[in-house]
């Protein structure tokens, strides 16, 4: 939990639909995703490759080439102002100024023909109107801030002279150069070793505590989520299937997919199962997403209703939602390991389906 969590909703995305026109037809990559993040908070978006987690964030940032991409529906608001499809808000650029972004592969996201310091300085020249020398001096300060030793010398080097971990630090320096209110980190440590991963995650947390920026962390690694997140959204086949605080998600998993992911990962806790349980099959084809629940074909507890109707997000706790028919108040089936709202709370609590609810 971050030190300075206030209740101000900073960024909220509502009912986002993104699709891509391809030769094979239209891919419905994101199908109605809603989430929000507050100042000083870390939201993790978890899912397997192809679930739409990166595409959602790229759509918000305006980084999707259109065509072939298209935002069919939805809104994205920063402090209440809708900016989806715009590049600026109140004269400030969304991309790079209000929202910073770091990517998975720092080697291919940096320009190999530019010195590191110049690449960081460029952001400041474009968004803040710094002069070249001012910007370069600030770039050196930023490299020191992200703990790159000999920053002055390093600023004059090229990306190939940096290791993977150092490049990721340089990327972070670039992303925070304009003091963004939101930082989107797309798999920031996937390409790194565990020791370097720990360093980068700590660095992100430190910067967050100093600046109060919100972080949206896109990852497939539940261990990284456990370490970093305040709240979590689990995505599957273009939809958020479960969203909750980090503790609720891990200790009160309410969607079979979340449970499946947990059981498929080796755990070193003494009470962990000693046999991994893989999720059979693979995610559905998003050219023609299934009419019902997208996870239905892989779900061990799929019912008749799951095939025909896509479940709405059911409330299972405080800001805890799961898109699963097993969470329907009239369902009487209990599944071992799957969290259910206790029966007495269903009777008098404001439970049931909540359409269009956000995280």
């Amino acid at each position: 939990m971050s030190a300075n969590v206030s209740n101000e909703t900073l960024l909220s995305v509502d009912n986002l639909h993104v699709e891509f026109a391809t030769y094979g037809g239209i891919v419905q990559a994101v199908r109605g995703v809603s989430f929000s993040v507050e100042t000083g908070q870390t939201l993790a978006i978890v899912g397997e490759s192809g679930c739409g987690k990166s595409v959602s964030m790229q759509a918000v940032m305006g980084l999707i080439p259109m065509p072939p991409g298209r935002i069919r529906q939805g809104s994205a608001k920063l402090r209440g102002q809708d900016f989806l499809g715009k590049t600026h808000i109140d004269g400030k650029a969304i991309c790079g100024d209000e929202i910073g972004m770091i990517f998975q592969d720092p080697m291919s996201s940096l320009n190999p023909t530019m010195r590191i310091g110049d690449q960081i300085a460029e952001t400041l020249e474009v968004h803040r109107g710094y002069s070249r020398s001012q910007a370069f001096a600030r770039a050196i300060e930023l490299l020191e801030l992200v703990k790159i030793p000999e920053a002055e010398k390093r600023a004059r080097q090229y990306p190939f002279e940096f290791s993977g971990g150092m490049l990721q630090r340089a990327m972070i320096a670039m992303a925070i150069a304009c003091k963004p209110s939101v930082l989107i980190a797309d798999e920031p440590t996937t390409a790194l070793d565990v020791t370097i991963q720990a360093q980068i995650l700590d660095l992100l947390k430190e910067i967050q505590q100093e600046t109060g920026m919100a972080i949206i962390l896109i990852t497939h690694d539940l261990a990284v989520v456990a370490r970093m997140a305040d709240k979590v959204a689990v995505m599957y086949a273009g939809q958020i299937v479960e969203s909750a605080s980090v503790d609720d998600l891990f200790y009160k998993s309410a969607h079979p997919y979340t449970l499946g992911l947990k059981l498929a990962m080796p755990s070193n806790r003494s009470d962990a199962a000693n046999q991994l349980q893989p999720i059979p099959g693979s995610p559905p084809d998003l050219f023609s997403p299934p009419a019902g629940c997208a996870y239905c074909a892989r779900c061990p507890w799929a019912m008749q209703v799951c095939q025909g109707d896509n479940p709405p997000p059911f409330v299972v706790g405080d800001r805890h939602y799961a898109r699963c028919w097993l969470q329907h108040p009239q369902n009487e089936r209990d599944i071992d390991g799957l969290y259910r709202v206790p029966a007495e709370q269903v009777a008098d609590g404001p439970s049931g389906s909540a359409k269009g609810s956000t995280v």
Binding site: E48, S49, S163, G164, G165, M166, D193, V194, T195, I196, Q197, A198, Q199, L201, D202, H220, D221, L222, A223, V224, V225, A226, R227, A229, V246, D247, F250, Y251, G260, L261, K262, A264, M265, P266, S267, N268, R269, Q275, L276, Q277, P278, I279, P280, S282
Partner: protein
Amino acid sequence: MTELVKLDRLTKYFDIGRGQRVHAVDGISFAIHEGETLGLVGESGSGKSTLGKTLLGLHDKTSGTLTYRDEVLPARYRSADFQRLAHKMQMIFQDPYSSLNPRMTVGEIIAEGLRGKPMTGAQKQALVSEWLERVGLNAAHASRYPHEFSGGQRQRIGIARALIMEPEFVVCDEPISALDVSVQAQVVNLLNDLKTSMGLTMLFIAHDLSMVRYISDRMAVMYLGSLVEIGKASDVYFAPRHPYTEVLIASNPEPDPSTERQRASTAIQGEIPSPVNVPAGCRFAGRCPKVMPVCQQQTPQLIPLADEDRLVACHLYSQ
């Protein structure tokens, strides 16, 4: 237990010009027992993949010996050696995208190792079908091309290609790191099942410490070309002795928020140094939180710990 593969001061240097050499694998000695899975971990650049490839003759050895059963393997393989040893040792590669030839059908890829075997075409086809089924694919997939498959399915093709030779020893070089979590478990369980049914011995190279602990009987830890610790996987994971192993395991996050909240921040600063000019003495001395004066001068040797089936290369444990 019988020692199936034995390394004695195995060394692999790469010349990079100007008289400089990369010390990728530097005098490593250990044995892999018949029927076990030995996990090999370490950061990128520690030499673990080079070690795996050197074991199979994909790299020539610079010095040291490698014994397979009672046979000392040649330092440099000729094509007859590859032909002969392909029936004993095989490899499963990391990247299921670049390790399959996109212009060959899956059937051709899997059957390629059978070339030269006294079998008819129909027999080979039947064997390929059998193996496709064994790795969880469909016999009809033999006529398709690699691009028609997902990452997990391609890794299964790679497994079938290696195991159709019925080897005794398999090197798995990061076989799951390119796969999604749910698919990783599928592939790991498949490897485990095949290992049991075929009585395989495996060297499982990976950087995912939790997965290595899960799949391995014993675990070996490499740092900058040298072996720092080897022992029972759960002992090494839960009670690491070498300071580097401690750091590595302390950095490994756990999918459990309450454990993570209690975790101290960054276990170690700095990065693995270049393997070109390796420091004298202990290679970890520059980053070691428990460094002593002796570490800068003397290279620690692997020594057995009392009452434990474990070897550690650290001056903390030498009297």
